[in-house]
Amino acid sequence: MAPLTVLGTGLAGYTLAREIRKRDREVPLRLVTADDGSAYSKPMLSNALARGKTPAQLVMASAADMAAQLDARIDTHTRALAIDPAARRLRTDRDEDAFSQLVLAVGADPVRPDLAGDGAGEVLSVNDLDDYRHFRQRLAADGRVLILGAGLIGCEFANDLAASGHAVTLVDPAPQALGRLLPAAGARQLEAALSELGVQWRLGLTAGRVDRAGSGYRVTLSDGSRVEAGLVLSAIGLQPRTALAADAGLATGRGIEVDRWLRSSDARVFALGDCAQVEGLVLPFVMPLMQGARALAATLTGTPTAVRLPAMPVVVKTPACPVVVAPPPPGAQGEWRIEATADGVLARFEQPDGRLAGFALTGTAVAQKQRLSRELPPLLD
């Protein structure tokens, strides 16, 4: 019998496989991954330094352990090249094989910054364990690190690096940190807390060039100023990997378009995790993929189950200033109402009728997370 096939062994692929095995010990299961198939927790990449963890210590299980645990065939270092949904066949760089149902859990690509200069090609991004191993090898003990992008991942790395003795410069075209997630009052508190750790802010600016200089780089910003750094890390965003699906003729938008059953425009092909766009929503976080994996495992094993997504606040891992955000859905009407205290900011995004559509909490206000979450409507009910 052709196996139920999952592309990707990130949190989406492995969580789904576990959930499938809880329901069905028999169905033949195959996982295909371009990487080495190590099971690891991606969120730990941005707080491993301060926790004293090496990349090797982040590996929770090898591909071989996972294959045994899941009673699955796991093809590592194998890249999927093409899907034929009608014939239900998958071609990889090693073989071609049939599938019964196929799940795309292929994640997202970091957006590459548009830079000139002979060091532009050496700008790193960290979106998986391999990237992280490389990043840690290149990280000098006391060198300056310049981070492009003061979003969630940029701020988390800034905190982790600065708390571990590195000199960090953060560059972002927005006038504040976490521009898409936090109202200005909350951002100021985060910026101040990171400044105290030595982080230098270059807000309202973009990087134009990265040139090699000595053993590091000289980065030229849009105001003409220059910053020297041993390492340049880009964290300017992620783009769902849609090419495989699009080439197979499946509907794609920002991500691979799926319905509430995580089904693509082909009834035998599904998508989960960072690559998916669920009913229009791209949600590149752990919580939605956990909810999705449970529902999808049921659907794939014969009990069609729609995904329900509760409101899902995101905890930003910046221990210098705790932040929790539940951004209002795109296009939501309303305004921020801000209560600032000495050591925290509580911002409610209220619709015209007073109902809560999102919130942002910093400092001591993060204690309000549970209470406010209960007030929020579900994302997908």
Binding site: L11, K22, S41, P43, M44, M60, M290, R294, M312, Q370
Partner: protein, 56 residues
């Protein structure tokens, strides 16, 4: 009393504190938390992402 840590996001459940906001009283032992409980920060389920026991 023990502490348990979520292996995906690092969330710590402290038996001594419980999670009163979620209706889990202080002093509730890990074994006594319902099987369908999920990590409040990342949604990992209790049964398959084992929490690691921290030293006291």
């Amino acid at each position: 009393m023990k502490k348990w840590q979520c292996v995906v996001c690092g969330f710590i459940y402290d038996e001594e504190q419980g999670l009163p906001e979620e209706g889990i009283a202080p002093g509730t032992r890990w074994e006594d938390i319902p099987e369908d409980w999920e990590c409040p920060e990342c949604g990992v389920s209790k049964d398959d992402f084992e929490m690691v026991e921290l030293e006291a």
